[in-house]
Amino acid sequence: MSASVSSTYRNVGKGLPRRDGEEKVRGLAAYADDIPVPDGWYGAIVRSPVSRGRLKKLHFDPAFDWNRVCVVTPEDIPGENVVDMVGRDMPFLAYDWIQFKGEPLALVAAPTRALAREAAAHIKPEIEEAPSILTLREVVDQFHRDPKELHQMVAQTISKGSLEQGFAEADIVVEGEYWSGHQEQLYIEPQGMVAFPEADGGVFIQGSLQCPYYVAPELIVTLNLPLEKIRVKQTAVGGGFGGKEDFPTLIAGYCALLAMKCQKPVKIIFDRNQDILYTTKRHPSWIRHRTGLKRDGSITAMKVDFILDGGAYTTLSPVVLYRGILHSTLGYKCPNVFVDGHCYRTNTFPNGAFRGFGAPQAIWALESHIEVCAHKLGMAPEEFRLKNALRLGDSTATGQIIAEAMGTPAVLENTLAHSNFVEKQKRNSRGNPAHDVWYGVGVSFFAHGAGFTGDGESRLKAKAAIDLELLDDGEPGINIRISSTEMGQGTFTIMPQIAADGLSVAMERVRCPQPDTKYVPDSGPTVASRTTMIVGSTVFDAARKLKAQLESYASATFFGNAPTELTNGTFKNSYTSDTLPFARVAKQLIEEKGPQRVYHQFQLPASLKWDQKTFKGDSYPSYSWGCNVAEVEVNPLTLEIKVTRITSTWDIGRVINPVLAKGQIEGGLTQALGYAVMEKMGIKNGVFDANRMQTYVVPTAMDVPEMDIHFVEYPYTHTALGAKGVGEVAMDGLAPCIANAVEAATGVRLTEIPITPEKLLEKLQATASSAI
C-alpha cells in the first residue's frame, strides 16, 4: 500500500521551509498579547495565601472604590463552579476547602492592569488553616508507613504472568529507586488569553493554546452556555510543550467569566513569575524497580512501584499515570511483570501535561535500572539491551504483540555504530584519580507509544475537513480545516504537504488557517505526538476523497465519462490524453455547485483490542523508537558536568519533513538535557522555589552539545501516510543516558534528577567514606 502511494509524493518527505517562517522572522506573527483588543479590560486573580484550609469569607476593603472595577466571586459563576476536565474535583474559584497556595478565590477586571492588581490586593480572604502535605518525599515516607493515609487520585496496575514464578526462576534480583522532580515547560511566550463578550450572550475566546476543543467543551458547564456560543480561536503560540494543553481552560475561564460579567473584552497575560508559580508542571516521580535476572542475561521478572505527585487536583493525572506505567517496562522482553501505579495529592499547584506525559519519568527509571542490571550481570550495557530488546513477534507487559516491523533494535544498532560506542567505552574514567578530566559514555534505548493510549482514538473519532473554495487570490484551492494547532512543531507546513500530495495539486494552492472552533471540526487535541500520525493521515484520506470527487466531476463534465486522473495539478482523460488544469475544473465545479467540503474520520484498525480496566491488549496503535549515546566530561575538582556529544537514531515512521522532524529532535533533546542536569525546581513554603528565569535555569546555546541525529523509517502500516509520533520521544530518554554516562565518568550512580555537582559531591563523599 505504502509503495503505491509513495510514488505520488512530491512534498511529503521533503524538508520544505515552514509556512509561518517569514511572518515569524519579520516579527509579524500575532501572539496573544499582540492582537488588538479595543476597549479591553485586564484581569487579575485573587489567590490563596495558604496551602490548605477552609475559606471563611472574602473581605472587601471598604476604603477601595469598587465601582471602578468588576469582581467575580463563586456566586457570579453562571453554571457549576467546577473545572470539567478528566476529574471534576477542581473548582474554578475555591469556596470551601482550599487545596494549594495560590488557588484562585476571586477574579477582578479593570481598565488597566495596575488597577486590576490593586483591586485584587484589596480583597482579603479569611481562612482557617489546616495541615498540608507538600512534597513527594513526604508522600513516599507516608506510602512506606501507611498509604491509606494519603489522598489517592488514581491507581492502576499492569499484570502479566506470575511474579512469584519469575523471581523463583531468577539467579539474581536487582533493586533500585529513582526520583525525578518538577519540570517547568518554560515556553517563552507566557500564558495569555482574551475573551470577548458576544452580542448573543456567548463568548469569543482567543489566545495561546494547544487544544481549542478542550477549552470550548470544558467551559460549557461553568459558563452555562451551549458549545455553539463558546467560540475558541488560536492565536500564534509561542511554545506549548503540554503547558498549554490543560491549563488554558483555566485562564480562558477566568477571562470569560469576567468578560460575561462586565461585558467588556478581558485579557490576562501572565508575567513570568506568575506563569511559573501558577501553571502546571511535569509530575515528580518516585519509581522502584525489582528485577529478576538469569545469569545468561535474560529478564525473568519486573516489579515496578510507580508513584506520581499529582499536586492538588486531578487535572490530567490519570492519563499521565497510565502512560507512565505503560512505559515503565516498555522496550524489553519479560514474561512476568507487575506494575503498581498510584498518583497522590500534594497541596501544591496541580501537575499537568508536559511533553512525554509520564514517559520521561518512566524511562528515566527504566533505563537507569537496566544499566544497573547489566552491571550486576557483568554484561556490557549494549549487549544486555540487544539481548532483551523487543523484536517482531514479542509481547509487551500488556500482552501487545509487536506485529509490524519497527525500529527495534535498529535504532540501538544504528546508534552504537554511528557513535562508535563499544570503542569509546574503553575510555571511561570511572573516577580514576589519574585522569585530569573524567570521561564517560552512556546509552539509552526506549520507545514512545504513538497516539492516544489504548483505543482512545476510537472514542475520540478525530475528524478533518478539506474545503475546496476560492482562495484570497480568487483562484481555486483548498483550506484544511482541523483543530490541530501550530505551536512551533510545524503543523501548518506538514498539513499542506500532506494535503497537496493526497490531492496531487501544487502546495501553493493549499492553506492551513489558524484553528477556530467556528470553522473547524474536532480533530482532537494537539498532544500525544498524534498530530502528524493521526490527523495527518485523516487529512491525507480527506484529500484523497476530494481527489476522487474532482476526477469524477471532470470525467462527467469535460471528458465524456472517460476515466480521469488528477496528477500534479492536471486532469488527464485516459482515453484521449486530453488534459485540463486543476484551476479550470475546480473553478467550474465551485461556480456550479458552490464550495465543496469533504470530511474524513480517523479509524483505528478493527484488530486493535484494548481493555481499559485490566490494562491488557494493544496499549498503543504503534510505537516510535529512539536510542541516545551521550558523552560527558566531568571536572574532578569542581564536578561540573559537561555533555559534549549526543548521537541518536529515531524511528518515527515515515518522515514527513526531515528539517522539521530534526528540529523536534534537537529541541526535545535540549529540553531533556535541562531535565537531566540543569532544571531544578523544589517546593519552598508550599510554592515552587525557582520562580523566575534567573533561578530556573534552562539550556542556552552554550550548554547544548553537538547532536548527530539519524532516522530509520519503519512506517506505520495502518495508514497510507505511515507517520508515527516525533514530538515526545525526543524528550523521553536522555536523562538516564546522561546518568549512565556520568557513572561511567565518575564511578558513582545518581538516582535523582537533575544531576548536579552538589549531588555528585555528596555521592562521591558517601562512596569514599563507605570504602574506608
Binding site: 522572522v25 519579520r26 516579527g27 506573527a29 507566557p190 513570568r272 512551533g488 510545524g490 535540549t670 542556552t700
Partner: protein, 166 residues
Amino acid sequence: MKTVIRTWVVNGKKRTLEFPPMRRLLDVIRETMGLKGTKEGCGEGECGACSILLNREPVTSCLIAAGQVPDGAEIVTIEGLELTPEGQELQRMYVAKGAAQCGFCIPGMLVASYAHVTGDHPDNSDAALREAHAGNICRCTGYAKIIEAVSAAADHLSHDDEDDDS
C-alpha cells in the same frame, strides 16, 4: 502622571514620543509605538526576547527605563532589521535553515545575530556564535539550526563583501 518627551530615530525614522520616564523601554516600543514584534518573555533581562539595538548595541528593553534614553538615540527593533542587507540575509537564512519554530524568541534572537554579524571582525566559529546568542533563550529548537542559519548568513555576507571589493 508626569511625562517626558523624547525624539529618537526608530528604525530609521525620527519619532517624538511622550511617556512617563519610568516606563520600560519595552512598553514604549510595544504600546506607545505599537511595534509588536518585540516580545516580553521574562521581564528581568534573562530570556532576551525583548532585545533591541540601542545605538547599535543589543540591549534587553525590559530592563531600561525609557526616560533614560536621551534625545537623538538610535533604536532598531525587529521591524527595522529588514531595512538592512544583513538583516534580510539573516531572515532569509533563518527561514531556509528552519531556525524558527514557535517564533517567540526569534525577534530578539535575530537582534543578537545582527549585532554579531555587523560587529567589528566577527568571529564566526561555532563557539563564538554560540556565545553571541547565549543571552537569548530558545525553548524549541535546541539552537542547532539558529547557529547554522547565522553561520550561513555570515558566510554569504562576507563573500558579498569580497564581491564589493573586487
